[in-house]
Symmetry: none
Subunit: 190 residues, 4 copies
DNA sequence: AATGAATGAGAATTCATTCAT
DNA sequence: AATGAATGAATTCTCATTCAT
């Protein structure tokens, strides 16, 4: 009889927030349930374990990034510069103002050594991210060099998000994005 | 029995390893004790709680970095280039080949939002790191710009260490160091 | 499994017994759970800590005393003598034959110095007890003197219960009650 | 080589204080050691277990009461009245101003149900106390009645000490003593 | 005689998970 | 679908006790 109070996707979104803020091991099912307005037993209707929930969160987020972020890199009618700018606008909206940073990076650092399933999914995510950025730089730098630059970019962003979390200062991310933009510009000028 | 089996410093070093590999919340006192060849109760002789142990680890490591790493930046008879090179040699020896990455970064990302004590100590650590690098760049870039570069460097290193952990590829760190070195070289040539 | 085995009130009653028999610090949650036919973790569904459970026991018992015992003193259509007699009958049924004595007194002596929350609740209990008895004696002795007598009565009862526990002899309590009754009778005759 | 820092008697006296203030189960060997200026291992030089230490405390205190308090009752050249007065002076000096109350009563209530050894010693103590008081009243009341009165007195004192602890009011004990004195006086007048 | 280290049993508490309603 | 009760294993921490120095 009980009315459906949430959808699986709502649970994913709420738990994403909690995992991001407190980390995987430091988050309890009760906290997630709480965030969803449910009791902890009820989560198990949608996800059969905490691990599977985390896994689903990772995949859900990966999918969203694919659709909304990585896809930018493959839009045929944008210049490199425009792609980077669009990416950056999108990304800053996502991160600036929140203390939570990048779930993928946070969870990666916390669990990649101890959970093979997460590790695999997280690797796939980062790989696609790198590939997407590399695709942007490829036109100007060539395949090889573009890949290197793109790895730098991702590292810089994640590093910036870490320091942003540590110092609670949004500037780190903004600056990192500016440097990434530079790489697009410089080329043009050469 | 009552023969001393470990010193406090040994416990710090062993637990540093475990915390680094598995994270703070995913590490149990039993695992640390195990690593030290003690029973779990015995750790409490040296540190009165898990939190206090972690705190001590952070401070111990901070101290070591001060002595061995940050100090390089303040050696009066080295050029910027030499300082950077020395720093890099040291740092690669520390990180390359291990899967553990940077305890400070790992723990920061995991706990900085939920533990104010850790947050404070970790912030102090990162600040000194940034200051030390800034000191190297100051001669060539001026105070303001040196600080910015140094923040970039730390972010790049931490980002690289994250990707290194994700992909188990040492190259990320090495490349980041090369870019840092570039910043030193460029100047000279100007 | 997930069929309700106990109610919160049952836990209160069972734990009351255990606390009374063995004292607060000497009682473990496992023993209470055992008494309730539960596992120790399950108690935490109902009470969030041992301290909170004890607190609830104190308050529960206080409430019961209010309803069943102290209320006797305020019944408008009984004489002092009748009130005392009713109180005594009630009280002897409660205590005689059991080795446990007065939980409130036992816990008070054990914890009042070290737990401020218990102290407060226990003080409230004893105060109301004293007030109730004073109310009985007031008609015959006046406010001031009634209060003094009532303090004597409570002290005598608690002292008697202590010796009853030490010597396992029910007589102490009975005699104390007789003396209390005397105080009611004497008046009449004067 | 280590110098002797304490005597067994000093340990007894210090631990008596701690046991009295915090109860038996709530007192740790470390706290006792601390009070004595020793480390906890050192207590075991003098007493082979916590239980044995408590036992020794009980016996030590029993002995002191015998010598200093109960003996008053058997002094051949004092009147009942004088004995009672001397007893009361002594007793008030002992208890008034301290929050700790009567160790024997406190420990009795806490442990008599669960520790047979303590129970035995505590029973012996209370018996001798009762006998001593009975001896005072015997002259005026006869053996039988004196014993009853004396039980009342002990109960009243213990009850008063309990309320004194609960309400932190010295008056309870003082009043109890006055009533005891009354019993001595009344006789004379008859 | 005192210390300081280590033990190991047991305490309170947390938490992912199950399941009958 | 949701609940709420119960589980049981794991976790942190405490503490009486032992023992080599």
């Amino acid at each position: 009889m009980p009315k459906q109070k949430v959808t699986a996707e709502e649970i994913l979104r709420k738990s994403m927030k909690v995992f991001n803020a407190k980390g995987y091991h430091n988050t309890s099912m009760a906290q997630i349930a709480d965030e969803c307005g449910l009791l902890k037993g009820s989560i198990y209707h949608y996800f059969k374990s905490k691990e599977q929930l985390m896994q689903a969160v990772i995949e859900y987020l990966h999918q969203k990034y694919k659709e909304k972020v990585f896809s930018i890199a493959y839009q045929p009618d944008l210049t490199s510069r425009e792609k980077l700018e669009e990416y950056i606008v999108f990304s800053e909206n996502l991160f600036i103002g929140s203390n939570d940073g990048c779930l993928m990076g946070n969870i990666a650092l916390e669990t990649v050594n101890t959970n093979a399933n997460f590790a695999k999914s997280l690797r796939a995510f980062f790989q696609e991210w790198i590939n997407a950025m590399a695709h942007i730089f490829e036109v100007d730098y060539g395949k090889q060099r573009a890949l290197e630059i793109s790895k730098e970019c991702v590292a810089e962003i994640e590093g910036a998000l870490m320091l942003k979390r540590v110092f609670q200062e949004d500037d780190y991310l903004h600056k990192a994005h500016q440097r990434i933009l530079q790489r697009g510009i410089k080329t043009k000028q050469t």
